[in-house]
Symmetry: C2
Subunit: 369 residues, 2 copies
């Protein structure tokens, strides 16, 4: 694996959209007992369902710790590859490499971008300590796939905090990228410049916020996602008493008044959220403490959103919450992705860990083998 | 990765000779402080030299623990892949998979064989405890390379205890394969049957012994190796006062009176050993104890032999001991492998760990990618 000192933009590389063809996908097997209730048994089952859904249409590698390797190998079907790799938790979206391509389709070369990772805020408001094993994963994964790597670890970024259309546009949130736990010494313009250079984009759309209570400092991938160029889904509620209402309204207004890198206005599809999902006392009892404090408290609202889906080659893998909004969400995604199967996975056991299906996956664009 | 319940022989698969074309090679980065003197720094340098020599003509993956991953990545050139994988020590020959092929050259399919591993003798006379991480490596490596696996872990075998010509013949030693720490419940005939089924061979040549003092119970790969079908090198000494003399004589006699699977007599090339190599007091001081005992004692003789070389696609990587016999050994191997570069690596720092270059490598035959 070669470490490249230039930038993707300088070399004609860019991050393709998630709906572009994939070589495959990366996931990480869940383990830590302060993230995943009751020792992670239910979370692992949910991850396996996500894995099976993805592996129906693309190659999947699941990273597991030496301790969990055997469980992973036993629980996952044989066509899914399991590799040993240390991590602090299981959020492949946020610390697996962001892969960039030179855009030649199946003849393309791809490379990885290694951003810095500090557990969503480091010593300011990070979610756990330490995060060193997570932070090393992008490098290890580039090595595993024998892909050269742009090392941009001086710049803190999680994969879940950006969405791109593959045609020059990136959407992100101010709540996350301007938070004091990320790159406080950089101005907004400097952060934009980093995104342009390393994602190969021209224009950044800044939403103010994400999903209410989202402990990632409101990653964009939980509130807004491209379904095709100039077309997005936006997590939505019509309930004015819900704190989410103002946040989604604000996003809608910004998107309505924006155009993408090619000057096109956005078509915005409202994807209605489930009713507030809160943690039960029983779930809290099954979570180990962290630094002598509970990691969740009974009644705490989780950042539930249908936008946190993964677009595989022939499927969209979406979360279900056992809510009346489940089926309408599936219907809308079915309309927006008519050529893909919509696979719903009951995802409460993933949500309790603090994210959802998009957060636990990272796509690898197609390349010449 | 699929686990196959038949045997290689039943499926038309067999272990190809080491001198047949390789896809690549597997090594493991050394770490344990009771095997490698002074924290393994010198051993790692020696391993890196071996790795560089091999990677000149084939793809190489080096497995490193999570602790040593960064060192491995820093010390190894960028064209060598480093993957994280736990192990108890660094003997890829003995616990990486034995790969078998269906023999169609570059269009071939290959599969792995997972033998049982018990640290060269288990609770009878094994060399360390525990050995569970080593024992899991074959399975993990088959998964990593996405190769299906014959699981024969009920049968204890190390890769260094067998050599094959790829044309139906296996050479092994009674000292090892009949030792009470391997498969004591099996008769010699039953052990032969296991080799036939899982190596896809017809005939087993049983040498009595290997190199004097070889703590693997005298692996064949330290005393005798195929250089082509019906042609072997044999570790040799003319010094009748050396306990090695009788062992090598015995091997010579057995080989002289044997024919291979195709009925051909053996051409035997004597590869003269270096003068006895013994451990110094200073080296012993740099080795951590094991179970409250020293792992080596000053003056202890090491099992030094030039036969412990690795045949890469375009090179033979051989050990040097700083002995007058170094150059004659290089010359002989040069004559026997006229189309390969002979690359000598000073190997005392590997030998102290208990083996040599062949022991720390495992080839992967060519296959259709």
């Amino acid at each position: 694996m070669k470490v490249i000192n230039s930038t993707p933009r300088a070399d004609g590389f860019y991050m393709p959209a998630e709906f572009s063809p994939h070589y495959g996908c990366i996931m990480i097997f869940p383990e830590r007992s302060d993230s995943w209730q009751y020792g992670g048994y239910a979370a692992r089952k949910a991850f396996v369902r996500v894995a099976e859904a993805i592996a129906k249409s693309e190659k999947l590698t699941v990273c597991a710790s030496s301790k969990q390797y055997e469980n992973a190998r036993r629980m996952l079907p044989e066509h899914i590859r399991v590799v040993e790799m240390s991590s602090n938790d299981s959020w492949a979206r946020d610390y697996a490499p962001t892969f960039v391509t030179n855009g030649k389709g199946s003849g393309a070369e791809i490379r990885g971008v290694n951003w810095g990772f500090n557990a969503w805020g480091g010593l300011v408001d990070g979610l756990y300590f330490p995060w060193d094993s997570d932070d090393k994963m992008a490098r290890k994964l580039c090595d595993l796939y024998e892909k050269d790597m742009y090392d941009h670890s001086d710049f803190i970024l999680e994969g879940g905090s950006i969405h791109v259309d593959g045609e020059g546009t990136c959407i992100t949130t101010e709540a996350c990228l301007l938070s004091p736990g990320r790159n406080p010494s950089l101005t907004k313009e400097e952060i934009e410049e980093n995104l342009r250079e390393y994602l190969g984009v021209e224009k950044i759309i800044w939403l103010k916020n994400g999903i209410y209570g989202d402990e990632t400092n409101e990653h964009v991938d939980n509130i807004c996602a491209f379904v095709k160029p100039s077309e997005v889904v936006l997590a939505w509620t019509d309930d004015q008493s819900d704190p989410q209402y103002a946040l989604s309204q604000s996003c809608f207004e910004i998107l309505s008044q924006s155009t993408d890198a090619k000057g096109r206005p956005f078509k915005i599809h409202k994807l209605h959220c489930p009713k507030p999902v809160t943690v039960t006392p029983e779930e809290c009892e099954g979570l180990d403490t962290m630094d002598f404090n509970p990691t969740r408290t009974p009644g705490e609202r989780l950042a539930a959103s249908y936008v946190n889906f993964y677009i595989a080659n022939k499927a969209v893998v979406m979360p279900f919450f056992g809510d009346p909004a489940d089926e309408p969400a599936r219907r809308l995604l079915g309309e927006l992705f008519p050529e893909r199967e919509i696979i719903a996975v009951p995802a409460r056991d993933i949500l309790i860990g603090g994210g959802n299906i998009h957060c636990i996956t990272q796509q690898i664009p197609i390349f010449e083998e």
